[in-house]
Symmetry: C2
Subunit: 324 residues, 2 copies
């Protein structure tokens, strides 16, 4: 089994070899910029890792890994327009640095490039991989639309929120693992188990993100905490808090989440006070553990020796920052 | 050989059977709206026609035809945002009727749906068809970027313009024919000849559009003439005129094309006066004939009996409104 560092370096090398320059430069500059912004490369690593786990040369999964990373970055370009986000990974977003038209069109091109890479999967699983990939793409769009719907909706239930993050985030992690397994020649049943594993990891990962945004250590989380509270985002913590709130707490929470004060520190403190009183930190940690354990049980069901699944286990645990 | 009417009805039936409703409705409503706006359905007809021409049941090409039409309509959704177009086929554009975010995300979904339909092509030519499809998608984006670049550029040469319309319009017509041929089991060489044929038809088609926008009969053209002149669009006619203009005509033409008067009738007349003096109508007709004839020579080179190629010939001629 290859280590995460090893896989990361292999992917980095492959990305640097990509020909991301073309004509006209106005179209390709943003593509190169977006792909060079970096990030955790979580999805391609999962594809490579799954491929390796089933005993296949990871080189066979590199095109799929690149395709998935191109797709993921395409969704970021378009999401950032829709969310009017000024920054991504500490740098200007494409639509801010250039304009929305460039971000739309460069994004479209990245999606087509992604499909061209996906086509290069081995013939035996090509149809299946391409269908999973594009079905997942549709689901990611459905998730993004739900996310936008929720912004202007007063009432969002916890199950509705879970369905949104399942579509927007978890299905792509799931598909990344499944595709890696299929390329390695795993059976459809084993690949499906890995898909379910990835889905649960994806849910746990997003809930971890929600949790760390409030309670994270800023130096290990990598960004300022309180961002979701400032942005009035209906996260898992907020929705669980609303469920459990007394009428007074509910009124206060809704009021706090309809406000955008110039100095948000007091607001963050007030929200955290309610969250603490309602114990949503513990509840969220429990949900994360629950999804993580379910992910591990799917992984175990595949029946591979532990020595083959440990890299995924450790990587998944590191993503959850289980020390939280 | 099936008639164009027959092919059109077959496609209409297939489109009406598509399941274009899904969750959340905010994502799928614009997709259904866009697909029901109609249009000539030129690209899917070319795919079906090519399939039929090589003696194959058109039903085998229906998924590809749907995929290509979904793709084409996706590009319209995004182009209309970028061009801030309020109307498409006499109806509100998606970004006007809803908003830009809906048009971006519904468009993205349509592209993924398009790829899912393309995957359903027969296994023997699947890889080739998918690669042509996504390579063409990239080229269409390149063409759209060039088109946007030209809007703000003073100097555009005629060859640059031809390259732009080749990418933005012609390659998709070419690929539509090629994909239909491949599905029918035509040789790569014959499918390539049909691609070249489609490319020339695409160029002739776009130049016809440029010509009819100035000199067309409004009742047969289907829209008001003079639109490109009002919008200061650097069409083939404008660029040929600039090439041949005297210094005085050049200055006047550039001045006219930097102006947006409230009552455009006088501007249209002045521009037409220069176009007439420089004989660009004749030049454009010659170029259209030249590309059309080249298209027919590629078609002839395939070596099919005339009875098999007549439907394409007649359809192509009708697109050029060769009576102009």
């Amino acid at each position: 089994m290859l280590s995460i560092d090893n896989l990361q370096n292999t992917f980095k090398k492959k990305i640097s070899e990509l020909q991301l320059l073309g004509q006209p430069p106005e179209l390709y500059e943003p593509i190169r910029y977006a792909m060079e912004l970096g990030g955790k490369r979580m999805r391609p690593l999962l594809t490579m890792l799954a491929c390796d786990m089933f005993g296949c040369d990871v080189q066979k999964s590199m095109d799929a890994a690149i395709g998935i990373e191109l797709f993921h970055n395409f969704t970021l370009l378009h999401d950032d327009i829709m969310d009017q986000a000024p920054l991504r990974r500490g740098q200007e977003t494409v639509h801010k640095r250039w304009n929305a038209n460039r971000a739309i069109l460069s994004g479209d091109t990245m999606f087509a490039m992604a499909n061209r890479h996906m086509i290069l999967t081995p013939p035996l699983c090509q149809t299946q991989v391409l269908d999973i990939f594009n079905r997942t793409a549709i689901e990611v769009c459905e998730g993004q639309q739900l996310d936008m719907n929720f912004e202007t909706r007063q009432e969002v239930s916890v199950p509705e929120y879970l369905e949104m993050i399942r579509l927007k985030t978890a299905v792509l992690l799931a598909a990344s693992l499944q595709i890696g397994a299929l390329i390695a020649g795993a059976s459809s049943a084993d690949a499906q188990l890995l898909y379910e594993c990835g889905m649960c990891l994806g849910l746990a990962f997003q809930l971890t993100d929600d949790l760390l945004d409030v309670y994270g250590n800023e130096s290990t989380f990598g960004k300022m905490t309180g961002g979701d509270i400032i942005a009035n985002k209906k996260t898992y913590l907020y929705l669980r808090a609303l469920e459990r709130a007394s009428p007074e707490q509910r009124t206060l929470l809704i009021k706090l989440f309809s406000d955008t004060p110039d100095n948000p520190d007091e607001k963050i403190n007030d929200v955290k006070g309610i969250f603490d009183a309602l114990e949503v930190r513990v509840l969220t940690k429990q949900a994360i553990d629950c999804y993580f354990d379910l992910a591990m049980s799917h992984l175990k069901a595949i029946g591979l020796p532990e020595s083959d699944t440990n890299v995924l286990k450790d990587y998944a645990a590191s993503l959850m920052q289980r020390q939280v």
